[in-house]
């Protein structure tokens, strides 16, 4: 029964996400672009969510996203690689960097880890500014080409983005990556890996007492987190067709945290729901832009006071077959 419900919910969601939304916004490229951005931001937030899941607050996700963005831009513009290779390359490079950074940093616990990740975004920005032979410094890398076609044995798998409506193309690519990312996250959380991650969150010493290689698992979690950031960053930069040191800032890093908080840390879909709700509400209230940091801070405080488990912890009386509640029963 639960399985049927989950399947129904998933199909309904996919129908809305992949058919209804693009159809509704078919003549509004700007809005479609905003929705695409929401997708990719939710993918990047999902990495932060996973770090919460092992009990770490990652305040440096913007830095990893920036690494992914620059990696893709450099692979495409300097090495002339295709976007698709660069996308995978960017994910790979971000993961390698996260492992190198994570090995020493993940030994720090609690607030110490957060404090040090706080500086990661800034470090990435400074690196982007100063390694100008690679990154063009503050000028950034401009005029990135659109993704080309993918053909296998003469059969066009993905068309050249320049030859179709690129807003639709980016929307579907963003949605595809996001679905893939959240499906992977769902698997992680609902497999034995999820049990191990939850055991780290609750007591690392107890986990290591029965043989869990805690340092290794922490690095694996951070690598997955960074993979999401790297892929998301590479996609975002390609969509913007440019990357600057300020493409992902420290502020973005804190917004990713807030998206997770808002959606809820207890459910896999927390990062998705949180990002869409908050990012889209803001887009609708354009006039409030200058107050964004203030409003976000107030939301953060309000959340901690009144809704510590996020939006997904609210159970309205008539709740459809939508959100699978499985992992909420065992937080």
């Amino acid at each position: 029964m639960a399985k049927v419900k989950t399947a129904l919910g998933a199909s309904l969601f996919l129908l809305v996400y992949l058919v209804l939304i693009p159809w509704l916004f078919r003549d509004q490229p700007y809005r479609l672009g905003v929705l695409t951005t929401a997708s990719v931001l939710s993918l990047i937030s999902a990495g932060v969510w996973l770090m919460f899941y092992i009990g770490r607050i990652n305040m440096g996700q913007g830095g990893f996203a920036l690494v992914g963005g620059y990696a893709a831009a450099i692979l495409v513009s300097k090495l002339g690689l295709s976007f698709w290779v660069a996308l995978i390359g960017a994910g790979f490079i971000t993961v390698v960097i996260s492992i190198l950074v994570g090995l020493p940093l993940l030994r720090l616990k609690g607030v110490y880890f957060s404090m040090i990740t706080l500086s990661l975004t800034e470090t990435a920005r400074l690196a982007a500014q100063s390694l100008s032979s690679l990154t063009n410094g503050t000028k950034g890398i401009l005029n990135l080409p659109l993704p080309g076609a993918v053909e296998i044995a003469g059969f066009t798998l993905i068309p050249d983005f320049a030859s179709v409506d690129k807003h639709f193309a980016f929307y579907f690519l963003g949605a595809f990556l996001t679905i893939l990312g959240f499906a992977a996250l769902y698997r992680v959380v609902n497999s034995r890996l999820g049990w191990l991650f939850r055991s780290l969150q609750q007591n690392e010493d107890l986990a290591s007492s029965f043989g869990v290689d805690v340092p290794r698992l922490r690095v694996i979690a951070l690598a997955i987190c960074a993979l999401f950031a790297g892929i998301g960053g590479a996609f975002f930069v390609t969509m913007q067709q440019s990357v600057y040191p300020a493409t992902f800032t420290f502020q973005d890093s804190t917004y990713f945290l807030l998206y997770c908080f808002l959606g809820g840390l207890g459910s896999v879909w927390g990062a998705f729901v949180g990002t869409f709700v908050l990012f889209l509400s803001f887009e609708m209230l354009q006039g409030l832009n200058q107050y964004q940091p203030l409003i976000y801070s107030l939301i953060m405080i309000g959340m901690m006071l009144w809704l510590p488990n996020g939006l997904l912890s609210i159970k309205p009386p008539f709740f459809g077959p939508g959100e699978p509640k499985k992992e909420e029963a065992r937080p």
Binding site: R198, Q202, G211, V214, I220
Partner: protein, 272 residues
């Protein structure tokens, strides 16, 4: 099952082990050995260094000097998960469990070392991974039944009473199938009836082939359960012997009586 026969080579050997915290030698030049199938107790007044000794033996702390051998192999100051892999598992003095998981899930997770699937195997839910999961659930149920927790399997751990939590801590330790189980004050906070039951369980675990070292303040329990006793005071080993020998040891009596003014009756009575 019958008790494992004693063999000539000790299962664990601790040689001149020392741990300093700044100027304080919490464990000071301690040497002893435990034979396979034994129940060895480590006793001593509060702050004597018993828990520190356990942390050194299970690689939760790095030793300042000295060595720990397990089955003849030097395992001093490795990582805790390596010690667990070799077969050394400790429980914690403060009740330590996964509070937000059910009792059953606590023990299922603790089967980690017995899983045959790799991390990608878990992710993709391979047949091996799924089979393991089933086996772990069965085995965890069995362990919980054995420790008298069968009725509270599905309760979230944080809602269990203290006595059950101590037992759950031991269940987690058993799940890893250790060869050497280090129990830090397993009977703390139990009444005499619960203690008597817990003593039977610990004996039973030994009879399943697990060697046990335990730290305990309940002297009647210690005298009842131990094959041998090691006594620590201010980080140093001051005596070692059978319960009868320890009860009549002048130095030990001195060490305990010397603290009578602290009015901690549990550290003052040596006789059961």
């Amino acid at each position: 099952m019958t008790p494992m026969p004693m063999t000539s080579m000790p299962l664990m050997e601790v040689k001149n082990l020392t741990k300093r915290f700044g100027g304080l030698a919490a464990v000071n030049d301690v040497t002893f050995a435990v034979a396979e199938g034994e129940i060895l107790s480590v006793i001593g007044p509060n702050g004597a260094g018993k828990s520190t000794l356990f942390k050194l033996a299970s690689s939760f702390l790095a030793a300042t000097s000295g060595k720990v051998f397990f089955k003849g192999e030097d395992i001093t100051s490795q990582s805790p998960h390596i010690a667990a892999r070799k077969g050394i598992v400790r429980t914690f003095q403060e009740t330590t469990i996964f509070r937000n998981m059910t009792a059953l899930d606590n023990v299922v997770v603790a089967h980690h070392l017995r899983s045959r699937a790799s991390l990608p195997g878990f992710f993709f839910g391979t047949k091996t991974a799924r089979e393991d999961e089933g086996r772990f659930r069965e085995s965890a149920s069995e362990i919980l039944d054995y420790l008298g927790l069968g009725d509270v399997k599905d309760m979230v751990a944080s809602t269990l009473p203290h006595g059950h939590l101590r037992a759950l801590g031991i269940a987690i330790g058993m799940a890893a199938e250790p060869q050497l189980l280090l129990l830090d004050e397993p009977f703390a906070g139990m009444n005499s009836e619960e203690t008597a039951q817990a003593i039977r369980m610990v004996r039973g675990i030994r009879d399943r082939g697990v060697t046990i070292i335990l730290v305990e303040h309940d002297m009647s329990a210690v005298m009842n359960i131990s094959d041998r006793i090691v006594v620590l005071n201010f980080g140093k080993k001051i005596a070692e012997g059978t319960p009868a020998e320890i009860q009549n040891d002048e130095v030990v009596i001195e060490a305990y009586l010397g603290r009578e003014d602290e009015s901690e009756d549990r550290t003052c009575t040596l006789k059961p």
